[in-house]
């Protein structure tokens, strides 16, 4: 508490029990948010005889209502109290700051604007679990519909919405899957910090993201989205009111990632423990920082593309509408300038989690730390130069297909380094085959398949055939799900003892691991085959020639789904009844294992001093 009490000023300290901040929580946020949204909608809605103008007015009212919901919620939960008090010259007192950090408030603090990074980490974890659950349920519906040709299970309209909403839900979930829970809970402890650099912004990033979830869900009740998560124009401009929910979600989410990304970057730069020089920073921290630092420039283009889509839909500005001089290619560029870095924003933290795990379970130093850093940085650097490989077939500048093919395939080199680091650490080791370590093996296989199929897709002639087919879908699920999500699940198993004080149920963990990984291979082997046979993506129905491949896929999907249900059960059950965890169950050497559970409010009683990197394993050499 020493750091906080130093802020106590000479002014009389008000009793925080009377302060407004004690009265605000997610409930008041909900009320103010709904009031703001309903009032805004009713103010702006209007009628017009011209259906085009009526469409514009309706979109305006809906979009404004969604943004006002988000702002209202934040007002209601007290997100702006800090800046407001600063503006009127009555800054928050030390006692109030302690209150905001959730000190001694038990479970209630998870529903408040709480600045403690550990609370934010748990909030993100449940946010991720919710999003993965919703996205996964949609995936099960998609696969059920595709189990047999005919597509009678759901209508084409519902199917298209499912495809798009599954996509965007999973993309959002996967962007925060590692940097949210582990980046917030574990990372500050890993670098020996008392909290994040900007604790209030940390709370803001979570609650802003939270407000995006109901907006995204509202897309269902507004008729869904017909465009897929790529939201290509001009399809997005002729789409129904559900599209507004998609647009608002992306804009709100982009604000959240900008806030979170700047905060994590600033924390890592400024808050490291004494002695933690750059070559002693744990590799997960390096990966998470490179990932969020890549998101900071990437996401604004997505946000801009959505603002322009919104303007096209509300004022007929015609950025993307060819009828009034726009171009769909402009949208595709803005989208993919975000879209390709974004897959590495997802991939890098998941891989970095696994790299953190390997040395601990092999009991050897991380092989070629510099190789790992160069690998991550190389992937991040090249990823901003490859976006147009998504547009080989669009007709835009065929002359540039060659250069984009070169930059894309060059990513194999830093990706190779990532493999080298993992393999080099494994070699000569006798790994401890616990659940987190199994994730490393699953990653090696899945990323191998995902990476190699990526080379086919980056090749222009091969892409002539494969583009827009199920082959692409199988490829990116291998990388994003097979590699990044596997990494995040391994990270959950690894850090579960530190985040909950209990061990994750091992037996259930193993069962879920093998169900998920075996099901995954079955699922996407079927999908690769369907793609090779020539089945396009995002189709509600298909010709009978693809029936076998799709049936196999669906069987695999059910295995994966069952595996995740088992995992969810293991998490919930172990959280409440699991074996009490020792302080350092894995015998790891990084700082987060030096603090007890529950982790004290400021993490360390005395700020730690670091004298080496956390990979000093190894018996003495003869």
């Amino acid at each position: 508490m020493t750091t906080l009490s130093s802020h106590v000023s000479s002014r009389p300290i008000p009793n925080p029990k009377n302060s407004l901040i004690t009265k605000l929580n997610a409930g008041t946020g909900l009320i103010v948010g709904v009031v703001f949204a309903v009032a805004t909608y009713n103010l702006l809605k209007g009628e017009n005889e011209d259906p085009g103008i009526a469409y514009n007015i309706h979109n305006r009212a809906l979009l404004a209502a969604m943004f006002m919901w988000s702002i209202g919620f934040l007002v209601g939960i007290g997100a702006f109290i800090g800046p407001w008090r600063w503006l009127i010259g009555k800054d928050l007192t030390a006692e109030e700051q302690l209150y905001l950090a959730g000190d001694g408030q038990g479970i209630k603090r998870y529903f408040k604007y709480c600045t403690d990074h550990k609370v934010v980490g748990i909030q993100y974890l449940w946010g991720v679990i919710t999003l993965l659950g919703v996205g996964g349920a949609m995936a099960m519906m998609i696969r059920t519909n595709l189990a047999a040709p005919g597509g009678h299970f759901i209508t084409a309209s519902v199917y298209n919405s499912l495809v798009g909403l599954h996509g965007i839900t999973m993309i959002i979930a996967m962007i925060i899957v590692a940097t949210g829970p582990f980046g917030n809970y574990i990372m500050p402890i890993m670098i020996g910090a008392a909290d994040m650099a900007f604790p209030r912004l940390n709370a803001l990033s979570w609650w802003v993201l939270f407000t995006a979830i109901p907006v995204l869900c509202s897309a269902w009740f507004l008729g869904g989205i017909p465009t897929g998560w790529t939201a290509y124009a001009p399809l997005s401009i002729q789409a129904g009111p559900g599209m507004n929910a998609f647009i608002a979600t992306i804009i709100i989410f982009a604000v959240s990632t900008a806030v979170a990304g700047s905060n994590i970057t600033a924390t890592v730069i400024a808050m490291r423990a004494k002695g933690m020089t750059w070559n002693r920073v744990p590799i997960f921290v390096i990966g998470a920082t490179i990932s969020v630092a890549l998101a900071v420039p990437a996401f604004p283009t997505f946000m801009v593309s959505m603002i322009m889509t919104a303007l096209d839909r509300t004022y007929m500005t015609g950025f993307f509408d060819a009828n009034i001089g726009g171009s769909g290619w402009l949208y595709a560029h803005l989208f993919w300038i975000m879209g390709h870095p974004e897959v590495y924003v997802i991939l890098i933290p998941g891989v970095a989690v696994l790299m953190e795990i390997v040395p601990v379970f092999v009991r050897m130093p991380l092989f070629s730390y510099i190789g790992a850093v160069v690998g991550f940085a190389g992937i991040a650097g090249l990823s901003i130069l490859v976006w147009a490989h998504h547009m080989y077939m669009s007709g835009w500048m065929p002359m540039l297909n060659g250069p984009f093919m070169v930059t894309t395939e060059m990513i194999s080199i830093p990706t190779g380094l990532i493999f080298l680091v993992m393999l080099g650490t494994l070699w000569h080791g006798k790994p401890w085959l616990k659940l987190p370590m199994l994730g490393v093996y699953a990653f090696l296989w899945n990323m191998l398949v995902g990476g190699i199929t990526g080379i086919y897709l980056s090749d222009v002639p091969a892409d002539n055939y494969l583009h827009g087919s199920m082959y692409v879908t199988a490829h990116f699920h291998y990388t994003l799900m097979g590699a990044a999500l596997t990494g995040a699940v391994a990270g959950l198993a690894y850090w579960f003892p530190k985040m909950t004080g209990r061990m994750l149920n091992e037996r259930a963990g193993y069962v879920s691991f093998w169900l998920i990984q075996i099901g995954f291979q079955v699922l996407y082997l079927g999908m690769f085959t369907a793609g090779a046979e020539g089945q396009p993506r995002r189709v509600v129905n298909y010709a009978s020639q693809f029936a076998t491949a799709n049936r196999i896929s669906t069987v695999g999907a059910y295995l994966v789904g069952t595996g995740f249900v088992v995992l969810l059960w293991a998490v919930v059950h172990s959280w409440r009844h699991g074996k009490i965890a020792p302080m350092n169950p894995w015998g790891a050497k990084s700082l987060e294992w030096t603090v007890p559970y529950p982790v004290p409010l400021v993490n360390f009683d005395t700020p730690p001093v670091v004298t080496s990197d956390p990979y000093g394993y190894g018996k003495a050499v003869k």
Binding site: A322, W329, H428, R537
Partner: protein
């Protein structure tokens, strides 16, 4: 493990022989051979078995490229999976962390040779792809004067084909064998993607610009035309059929549909 005889000062040749005699190296190499062979077979079988009958040289070269790329990557798969399998087999279970291994931080030769291998393989893939692209565009330029022009129009959710020189419009895609064809593609509404599957070509149909793509059908057979870009409600049903037929049959088809043979 790395317990070499340091006292004997072995020559590089001796060291290599000793290296190959190590048990861990032998087992890993055996796994590497197994996985490499597995991927070579898989590459040879999977794509040739599952990809549809090729009706053009473009499609044939894509099929070949998929097989060759799999073969090029087979040794990489062998390396990664052999090390993974070896260490997995020699892993430990139980509740106590195992003993520490040797404190290897890096290995210059290992990193350098791995980096060089990755670079060479990438370069091979890049060069191979560029050569294929170049030969396709050269062939297209050479064939242009004698080509049959087909105007392809995508609309929600129908493909239609217009043969301007023949004065024929149709919803099925008929092509004469052996004659180069230039597709001029555009959309009247949202983005579509024109995909005559067995021809191994694809191009988006945009509202604001016409795109074109060239190929030469060289075999008789059925054609499936699909849309490869999500275009709204009935995207899945935006497909039609066609065929590559003998030139004489094509001319018959043209006259039957009210056109004139060019």
């Amino acid at each position: 493990m790395s317990e070499h005889n340091v006292d004997l000062k072995p020559t590089p040749g001796d060291r290599f022989t000793t290296f190959l005699k190590r048990k861990d190296i032998r087992e890993t190499l055996a796994w590497a051979a197994f996985y490499t062979a597995g991927f070579v077979v898989l590459g040879g079988v999977f794509y040739t078995k599952w990809m549809p009958t090729s009706l053009s040289t473009d499609m044939k070269s894509i099929e070949r490229l998929m097989v060759i790329f799999t073969w090029i990557s087979a040794p990489v798969c062998g390396l990664v999976l052999s090390i993974a399998t070896y260490t997995f087999r020699h892993g430990t279970r139980g509740d106590v962390p195992p003993e520490d291994g040797p404190p290897i931080r890096t290995n210059f030769l290992g990193v350098a040779s791995f980096g060089a291998m990755a670079g060479i393989l990438t370069l091979t893939a890049v060069v191979y792809g560029l050569i294929e692209m170049n030969s396709a565009s050269e062939a297209a330029a050479k064939d242009a004067p004698s080509a049959l022009i087909v105007e392809v129009t995508g609309s929600q959710w129908v493909w239609s084909f217009n043969y301007p020189a023949q004065g024929v419009s149709s919803n099925e895609l008929m092509l004469p064998k052996g004659q180069p064809v230039i597709f001029k593609i555009h959309s009247v509404d949202v983005n579509h993607s024109f995909w005559p599957v067995q021809l191994g070509i694809k191009a988006d149909a945009n509202h604001f610009q016409t795109t074109s793509v060239t190929t030469t059908p060289n075999k008789l057979g059925r054609l499936d035309v699909k849309c490869a870009e999500l275009c709204g409600l009935y995207h899945a049903y935006m497909e039609t059929e066609g065929a590559v037929v003998e030139p004489a049959d094509f001319n018959n088809w043209v006259t039957q549909n009210g056109g004139h043979s060019a």
